[in-house]
Amino acid sequence: MNAIPEFDFDAAREAAEDGDALVIDLDGFEGPLHVLLALARTQKVDLLKLSITKLADQYLAFIHAARKRRFSLAADYLVMAAWLTFLKSRLLLPKPERLRPDELPAHDLAASLAFRLAKLDAMRHAVEALRALPQTGRDVFVRGDPDAVVITSSTRLDADLYGLIQAYVMQRRREGARHYRPQRRVDAYPLEAARVRLRSLAPELKAWTPLPELAPQPHGEGPSRASYLASTLSAGLEMVKDGEMEARQAYAFADLYLRARKRAVEPQPAAAPK
C-alpha cells in the first residue's frame, strides 16, 4: 500500500444524504473497527456478504460528520479512512492491475475485512451471552454457611504463572526498597532545563516523536527516568499551548507524540465545505 489517496468526500456526502450515515457519538466506540461494525449492521445483511464499497462510503460519511461536529479523531480513525478509500478505489478499478508479489487482490482484502467484522460481531454477541448467563453471586448462590470442617477440592493447587511472576516482582521491588538510602538526595529534572532543552530540539522535530525519545536518558546518579519524562512532558505541553508544538495521543495511556508546529498553514486540499 504505497498510495494514500485523498478522501472521496463527494461519495461520502452522497451517502450521508441518502440517510445511510449513522448519527453517532464517538463516545462508546473504542476504535475504528467498532464503528465499522455499527455501520455494517445498518446494512442488514450477513456480515460476510457485506458491500465493502458501501461500507467505505458510510465510514467516510461518519468521519466527515464527526469532523463537522469538531470531534478530534484519533489517528486510528483517519488511518482506517485512508485505508478504506484505498481499498474502495482498488475494488472499483477494472481487474487488470498487476499485483506486486506482496500485494493481495482487493477482493481478498475486502473478504478479510468482512471476516474481521463478523468475528468482532460474534465476540460482541458472546459478551451479551456471557452477561446473560446466571452468574454466581449475582443470580445463583452457593451455600451461605458451609460446614465448619471445610471440605475443599484436593485435585487442584492454586498456583498459577501470574501468581508466580507477581510474587517475583514484589520481592525484587522490596529488595530494591531495602537498598534505598533516604539520606541520598532525590534529584528532580528542573522544568526550566526541560524547557530550554525542548526548545533547542524543536527546530529538528519535524516528525512525530515519542515522548520517551525526547526526554534525556537517566545515567546513574541524577534525576530518575520518571522525573525526566514528567518535566519534558510539562515543558512540551507549555509549548503546545504557546502554539510552538503539537501533541498527539491515540488513546488513553498510549504513547504520546510531539512535533514542532509548522509555521505556515499549507493550502488545504479539496476539503469539506463549511
Binding site: 494514500i4 488511518v79 485505508w83 482484502l109 456471557l130 452468574q135 448462590f141 460446614d147 488545504q268
Partner: protein
C-alpha cells in the same frame, strides 16, 4: 435414596467449593458409584429451589436462577466490567490459547493498561504458556474460576461456541497482509516515490481541526 446418594448429597452440601467426582470418591467407601449417585441427585433436585450443577468439571449445589430476585441480601456488589474488559474476556475465552496481539487484532485497538491485568487479578484469566512462533509470545486462557462464576461445566459449553466454530469465526488466520497500518510507525518505511504524502494527510486533518 441410596446410601451413596445420601453421602454425596451431604458432602456437596457441606463443601465450601465445587468437588470433582474424584474428590467425592476419595471420601466415600471403596467402590461407591459416584457417577450414578450424581446423576440421580441431579434428577432429584431438578426444578427445585436448589439445584445440582456441574461447573469446571466439578459439582456444586446452587440456588435456582429464577429465584435470583429473592437474594438481595446475599448478592455481592461486583464491580461491573468495562466493555473493553468483557470483550477481552470473551475473546480469550473463545479463542484460547490466544496472545495479547491476537486479542488486539480482533478488537482493532490496543489493549489499554488495566484491562488484561484486571482479568488476571480477578482470577478469570491466566497465562497459559507460550506460542511456538517467532517471539514466542505468552498465551492467555481462562481459569476454572471463570467457568465457576458463569456456571459453565466446560469450555465446550460457552454459549454459541459450537456455531461460531462451525462458521469458522473462531479461526485466527487472517491473510498476513491484512493489516491496518499502525499510525505509530507511520510513514518512515514507506516507498519514497510518494514523498511526504502521509504527513500531508495528517496535516490536512490537523489543519481542519484547528480552524
Amino acid at each position: 435414596m441410596s446410601d451413596v446418594e445420601r453421602m454425596v448429597e451431604a458432602l456437596l452440601f457441606a463443601a465450601a467449593e465445587p468437588l470433582s467426582a474424584a474428590d467425592l470418591a476419595a471420601r466415600l467407601p471403596e467402590g461407591a458409584d459416584v457417577g450414578r449417585a450424581l446423576a440421580a441427585l441431579r434428577g432429584r433436585y431438578d426444578g427445585r429451589g436448589v439445584e445440582l450443577e456441574c461447573v469446571a468439571d466439578r459439582w456444586r449445589f446452587r440456588t435456582a436462577p429464577d429465584l435470583a430476585f429473592l437474594m438481595n441480601e446475599e448478592r455481592q456488589e461486583t464491580r461491573r466490567l468495562s466493555k473493553a474488559a468483557m470483550e477481552t474476556l470473551a475473546i480469550i475465552a473463545y479463542h484460547q490459547p490466544v496472545t495479547r496481539a491476537e486479542v488486539e487484532s480482533v478488537r482493532g485497538v490496543g489493549l489499554s493498561r488495566g484491562t488484561l491485568d484486571l482479568l488476571l487479578e480477578l482470577g478469570w484469566v491466566r497465562m497459559r504458556g507460550r506460542r511456538r512462533s517467532p517471539g514466542r509470545p505468552v498465551t492467555y486462557g481462562t481459569t476454572d474460576a471463570f467457568l465457576e462464576h458463569f456456571g459453565l461445566a466446560s469450555l465446550i459449553d460457552l454459549p454459541g461456541a459450537a456455531e461460531m466454530k462451525a462458521a469458522g469465526l473462531l479461526d485466527m488466520d487472517l491473510p498476513p497482509d491484512f493489516d491496518v497500518p499502525n499510525p505509530a510507525m507511520a510513514p518512515s518505511d514507506e516507498d519514497p516515490l510518494d514523498g511526504d504524502e502521509a504527513p500531508e494527510f495528517q496535516q490536512d486533518f490537523l489543519g481542519e481541526e484547528g480552524r
